[in-house]
Symmetry: C2
Amino acid sequence: MMSAEVNYYNSQNPFLVAVDCIILGFQDNEIKLLVHHRQMEPAKGGLSLMGGFVRENESLNDAAIRVLTSLTGLENIFMEQVGTYGDIDRDPGERVISCVYYALIDVRAQDESLLEKYNASWVNINRSDELIFDHPQMVRDAINILRNKAAMQPIGFNLLPEKFTLTHLQALYEAIYGKSLDKRNFRKRMLGFDFIEKLNEVDKSGSKKGAYYYKFKEDKTHLLNSDYGF
Amino acid sequence: MMSAEVNYYNSQNPFLVAVDCIILGFQDNEIKLLVHHRQMEPAKGGLSLMGGFVRENESLNDAAIRVLTSLTGLENIFMEQVGTYGDIDRDPGERVISCVYYALIDVRAQDESLLEKYNASWVNINRSDELIFDHPQMVRDAINILRNKAAMQPIGFNLLPEKFTLTHLQALYEAIYGKSLDKRNFRKRMLGFDFIEKLNEVDKSGSKKGAYYYKFKEDKTHLLNSDYGF
DNA sequence: TCAAAAGTGTTCGTTTTACACCCATGT
DNA sequence: ACATGGGTGTAAAACGAACACTTTTGA
């Protein structure tokens, strides 16, 4: 498709460029991180984010999507850049510049068979300091972005199944922010944005009385106001 | 200093990696962007952000600092990543992955002689759509970050001289947000954070009565609360 | 004396917080 | 009948928005 006719910049140094994906899920009322045991040296066997080298025929975003999809089987997933990590010695093997993305997925929708294939598993987010290299910092940065963003925009829904109860939703937010929230205020606030819609269906799994399911109204994101506080 | 003993990843493709700097200043009550006329093909002569290729012996951050310092003569400047742009065809010359930073500087402190040397000049931020390649998008993304961040954290001060009046400060915020603000509310709010300190010195340049100078209190940034709204 | 910018408080509406009880149901 | 989680309202406080006049001084 694309072929550079001329090498304009051929006196310059090239670098290996990788993408690393911070794949987050919500399970057992905890934010979980999808990690794997690294299959190559150096640090073979160490806990690592899922990553891969960028290929010649793909954009950075496409590389991130490829990594995510190969590990989860999911497509059309919420994913955003966290940042790019470029310290010289960040990877002890060789210099690699890593562009990091975070993704929010519904763990129940993923293809579980792929976990085995890649030696991957879900761990509690607070175990991210066990990761190799600068991956712990990457995760901290991602969580920070998530906390800031989830308070303003309805991205948390990406971590839940299509149908969820307000109790589920509250548990999610409590996990994201690491603190318990007032039930009445939380519900008032969530229903105040009109991002979610009550369904005529009740979840009896969590209680005898049963709780109404809600779903996220697609395409209300354009209603977001761009009010910065000034 | 560092030498990779082994090439662990040598079956992988390397890429050219550049940093591009969005250097912002405040002048004549406008947010200005430091741009230059590109000196190499392709798009030679086009309006471009200041950038440079990352070198083997420097981190990404160091590369950004090098670019900024070479063009302004300034060190210890507020600078943050905006994001990394990695579409295959984003640079029509050859594939280049660009890691973008934005910097906030006091235009009065810069070394003006360097502007000539690099064929650089300050243009109003709203002219950024005249830039080459994907640079206009980079600038939009940076402005968005700035607007979000300046409402929460005292980073705007980096665009002002050490001493400034509240009138200057308000003009700066009005330029950042592109709308006029109420003087009393603005002052109440700014003095409410205790980031700034009144000096015993008056600026008579802007009015007959004179306005008190203020300065930014260093190291109050740790007082920032991490309240996400939940 | 007047023009021009600096400086200063109050009111009102909205938003956020804190807080406790009844409901519906399965066992 | 009781244990369990689901669901609801109100009062007080904090915050944000709107709004107009007096002060100082150089020309």
